[in-house]
């Protein structure tokens, strides 16, 4: 696995900070946010592109694709996988991104509309296209197999990992790089999000801004980053003595067909059930749910109802946490980085907390692992992504015994 986000530029530091309840949410530094009402975001800290890429590579790579490459390199390195030339046609890439190359588009459109440019930079299209992350990964690692880019807003990387899992399961590939990326912190995007009135302002205390499930929660915080997994067919992994962090056993995808921004209960619940069914896992076997948990009034109460509906009495026994409380809502990357947190919970036997949990909400009355990480052996875990537009992705992972 590989990850880069506001809480760490690699998996170990990313997870250490989550377990330590350290938030990556701060006042925006990429540009001056003074004109905005919401001036905070979860930026990757101290990110210097030339630390990772030569200048020539950077010319053609928007920030969102850079993050995907960094996470993918970590994943490939830590997996120690060596792919023979004849295997390359069975090696593909699926990335998800909600927004694509926003940094590039924002800059070029500024030139066009504000500075009356009559020509835009020729690399604008190759940089901003949604599939740039997938294509850059394919080129970097020589992947010749089925490769896609998925755009389902906040569920993009959940769907990407699920679809990649199915490509292997149904025999179309043996190895997949799968995950997602987004770098949406631009003035234009923040203005657009501000207008939806779902962003937490932070009240001068950015690290405490995102308070999922807490009665005083007041919205989500935009973040950036990427998470990428090496998914491998089981026998292929065993034959080479691979270090196996977990098995992806279930993927549920469903649609609410309800509202363009508001979630339903039934749609997400169906996705959870599909994931459980595919994995042939009973609800009672689930130890931990990494929630979508955006920190909005609506998501958190809806998601609580989803968990109760699917898990019944067991809903009160299992642990739920929202790591968005610390790494923010990274849009198309969020399913992937949250799955990293989930798999690392299995690996380390410790559940990252829901940070900033200050006031219990009678409508959200489950165990959200408030404020402090919890040591617990996690065998089976679920990661939820419930997107704007009612598109849901749920992944079930379990320790391989």
């Amino acid at each position: 696995m590989g990850a880069i986000a506001s809480t760490g530029k690699n998996v170990p530091s990313f997870m250490d900070n989550l377990v330590g309840a350290r938030s990556g949410i701060r006042r925006i530094t990429l540009w001056d946010p003074s004109a905005l009402t919401v001036q905070i975001a979860a930026e990757v800290p101290d990110y210097v592109p030339t630390d990772y890429f030569p200048l020539k590579r950077l010319d053609l790579t928007d920030r969102f694709a850079q993050f995907a490459l960094i996470a993918a390199r970590e994943a490939m390195e830590s997996s120690q996988i060596k792919i023979a030339e004849e295997e390359l046609p069975r090696f593909g890439v699926v990335t998800g991104s909600g927004m694509g190359g926003t940094q590039t588009l924002d800059r070029e459109f500024f030139n066009l509309y504000a500075k009356n440019a009559t020509r835009l930079h020729p690399f604008t299209i190759p940089r901003m296209m949604h599939n740039a992350a997938t294509s850059q990964l394919c080129m970097e690692f020589g992947a010749l197999g089925p490769s896609l880019a998925i755009a389902t807003a906040c569920s993009s990387s959940g769907h990407a990992i699920g679809e990649a899992f199915h490509l292997i399961k149904f025999g179309l590939a043996d190895i997949m790089l799968a995950g997602g990326t987004d770098a949406p912190i631009t003035y234009g995007m923040l203005r657009a999000w501000e207008s939806v009135r779902v962003l937490a302002s932070g009240d001068g205390n950015p690290s405490r801004a995102c308070r999922p499930f807490s009665a005083d929660r007041d919205g989500m915080v935009i973040g950036e980053g990427a998470g990428i997994f090496v998914l491998e067919e089981l026998e292929h992994a065993r034959r080479r003595g691979a270090k196996i962090y977990a098995e992806i056993a279930g993927y549920g995808a469903s649609s609410d067909a309800n509202h363009i921004t508001q979630p339903s209960v039934e749609g997400p619940a169906r996705a959870v059930r599909l994931a459980l069914d595919e994995a042939k896992v009973n609800p009672e076997e689930v130890d931990y749910i990494n929630a979508h948990g955006t920190g909005t009034r609506l998501n958190d109460v809806t998601e609580t109802q989803v968990v109760k509906g699917v898990f019944g009495e067991h809903a009160r026994r299992l642990a739920i946490s929202s790591t968005k409380s610390m790494h923010g809502h990274t849009m198309g990357a969020t399913g992937a980085i949250e799955l990293v947190a989930t798999v690392m919970a299995i690996e380390r036997g410790v559940i990252p907390p829901t940070a900033n949990y200050t006031q219990p909400d009678p409508e959200c009355d489950l165990d959200y692992v408030p404020n402090q990480a919890r040591e617990k052996k996690v065998r089976v875990a679920v990661s939820n992504s419930f997107a704007f537009g009612g598109l849901n992705a749920v992944l079930l992972v379990r320790r391989l015994e």
Partner: protein, 96 residues
Amino acid sequence: MDVANKVIEIITREQHFEPGKVTIDSTFAELGIDSLDGVNIMFALEEEFKIDIPDAVAQNMRSVRQVVGGLTRVIEGKDISDLVAMAKGQTPAAGN
């Protein structure tokens, strides 16, 4: 204004080359400049000289000498219809 020096400077900058690598005799093939790089170089030249280079001409540049030649004619307002016709007729450019 020395068009040749400016062209060499811009190609060097856009391709992140070492100084001295690009000469008036260099071809794009020798320099490893593909058609996407070529489009980028044309963009930088258009911005620098504040001119418009027609697509058909821009796409047919294969060497530094050709670029300097074509650019000089555009800057001096000279007739480039032969270049445009040649490009549209897909005739291989002279001087490769």
